[in-house]
């Protein structure tokens, strides 16, 4: 009999999807189980987050490269789309690398997985607090120190970076610290 696939809307996962990752049903993701590869993915994600958060500086880079305004806009837009798509792809791989443990509901995990998931969220919460504190300092002192002058939509890059950080940080911590996942 066909069993209905339960969707966990709040967590953004499905029962079959999580169980498939937990039970290694797809061998093509085995390379993501190695801690070294998971850590490389975490580093790439962190670099991507920094790149997005610095989106406000990209126009300055465009000016420094002496590109014409038309070419500059194309380069700027394509780069922005590429970085954001790369982040979405990286986030998808990250979820696979940690078997969706950071996103799965309690009923699909065992007690150790729930314990490590909860610990990762606790640390993610602290790290996020420090990141936001750093941004607050940057917003406050940046204009004074000629470091950061947000104009127009510049702040939207910070919001996008924070959104990705909130979504990915627990999985990044799990992927970094767990020897076996």
């Amino acid at each position: 009999m066909f069993k209905k696939n339960k969707i966990y809307w709040f967590e953004g996962v499905t029962e079959k999807g999580v169980k498939a990752l937990l039970n290694d049903e797809n061998p093509k993701y085995r390379w993501l189980r190695q801690q070294r590869n998971r850590r490389i993915l975490v580093i790439l994600m962190a670099v991507g987050l920094v790149l997005i958060s610095m989106g406000s500086y990209w126009p300055t880079l465009k000016t420094n490269l002496n590109l014409s305004p038309e070419v500059g806009v194309v380069v700027y837009s394509v780069t922005a789309i590429f970085v954001i798509l790369a982040m979405v792809g990286g986030y998808s791989f990250l979820r696979i690398a940690v078997r969706s443990i950071a996103d799965a509901p309690d009923e699909l995990l065992d007690e150790r997985q729930i314990a490590v998931r909860n610990t990762s969220f606790r640390y993610a919460y602290f790290i996020l607090g420090y990141v936001l504190m750093g941004l607050m300092v940057l917003m406050f002192f940046g204009p004074e120190l000629q470091m950061f002058k947000p104009e127009g939509n510049d702040g939207s890059y910070l919001v996008i970076a924070i959104f990705f950080t909130c979504a990915a940080l627990p999985s990044m911590i799990l992927a970094w610290r767990e020897r076996d996942i």
Binding site: L22, L109, D110, E111, R112, Q113, A115, V116, T119, Y123, W176, R177, D180, I181
Partner: protein
């Protein structure tokens, strides 16, 4: 390590899960299925990197036909005992 997985790293819980499991000819996956956990959790338990809850300890003892006190101890087990 950034943070420990053990419930209380100062007070380790030693176990004989691997010995009892292999004596019954069970794989980690088979024991995991019997007690309702992921197979890697059995690995963490056998390496004494994770201390189980009382409920899980009771389920493991039942699956391995042992008493909890025969499987778990706060002092290291003597080899071959």
């Amino acid at each position: 390590m950034l943070f420990s997985m053990s419930r209380n790293p100062e007070e380790p819980v030693y176990n004989r899960i691997e010995e009892a499991r292999t004596a019954l000819g069970l794989t980690r996956q088979e024991l995991a299925d019997k007690v309702g956990v992921h197979y890697q959790t059995i690995g963490y338990l056998e390496r004494e990197e994770y201390s189980p809850s009382l409920v899980l300890a009771l389920r493991i003892a039942k699956a391995l036909n042992q008493e909890v006190s025969e499987l778990f101890s706060q002092t290291p087990f003597k080899k071959g005992k």
